[in-house]
């Protein structure tokens, strides 16, 4: 399997705290993406980082990429209850085929 892994599997924090999720993958990539899934629904794209980039920001999201370690992290700053969801990383395995990880379930308590 080419599937990557997210760590931790589950994360519980209070509103206002930062949430950090990590992703490890197995193959060379062109880019890495992060997605969010609210309970029982389809996934929504959050951010894409290319293999030649090391860090990218979008609003309260910060993504880092270390291709030498085949890993990425997603930081959500000043979390809100509405950030409660599952978060997945996805890699392209060097082609257009999109491979997802196992996901991190984030619970943000008011």
């Amino acid at each position: 399997s080419q599937q990557g892994e997210e760590d931790p599997q589950a994360l519980s924090i209070q509103e206002g705290e930062n949430a950090t999720m990590n992703c490890s993958y197995k193959t060379s990539i062109n880019n890495l993406q992060w997605y969010r899934q609210n309970s029982g629904r389809g996934l929504v794209h959050l951010i894409l980082i290319r293999s030649n980039e090391r860090e990218k920001h979008s609003g309260r999201l910060r993504v880092t990429l270390d291709t030498s370690k085949k890993s990425s992290s997603l930081l959500i700053t000043a979390s809100r209850a509405a950030d409660t969801a599952s978060y997945f990383c996805a890699t392209d395995a060097g082609s257009d085929k999109l491979i997802f990880g196992t996901g991190t379930r984030l619970q943000v308590f008011p």
């Binding site: 389809g42 794209h45 997945f88 257009d96 085929k97 999109l98 196992t102 996901g103």
Partner: protein, 115 residues
């Protein structure tokens, strides 16, 4: 807005039935995907199509086939449904990587129960 539409939100089928899951996208995307999602296992790729009539197997193609006769439509076929195919099925589409923006858009999912 990009729209990926899956034909059913919920389906209940009997063991041994042939099941068709349909997916339509309206953004002229080259790529289309079928995943299944099970608790603790994340999204696993069943099949990927990068053009009409073109397909590649994903990580778990056994027991499934696909059809892409038109660019906007990608069908997943369970040849003979079994209880271990009870799952959430997600369809997605994206532009080809040569356009650089390979963000995938997802349908709402089909929760299939095989009894």
């Amino acid at each position: 807005d990009v729209k990926v539409t899956q034909s059913s939100r919920y389906l209940v089928k009997r063991t041994g039935e042939k099941v068709f899951l349909e997916c339509v996208q309206d953004m002229d995307h080259e790529n289309m995907f079928w995943y299944r999602q099970d608790p603790g296992l994340g999204l696993r790729l069943i099949y990927f199509s990068y053009d009409v009539k073109m397909k590649e197997k994903g990580d778990i193609p056994e027991g499934y086939s696909v059809s892409r006769e038109k660019k906007e439509r990608f069908s997943l076929i369970l040849e003979s449904a079994s209880t271990n195919q009870t799952s959430m099925y997600l369809c997605a589409s994206s532009f080809s990587g040569r356009y650089l923006n390979t963000e995938a858009f997802f349908g709402q999912g089909t929760r299939l129960t095989v009894v």
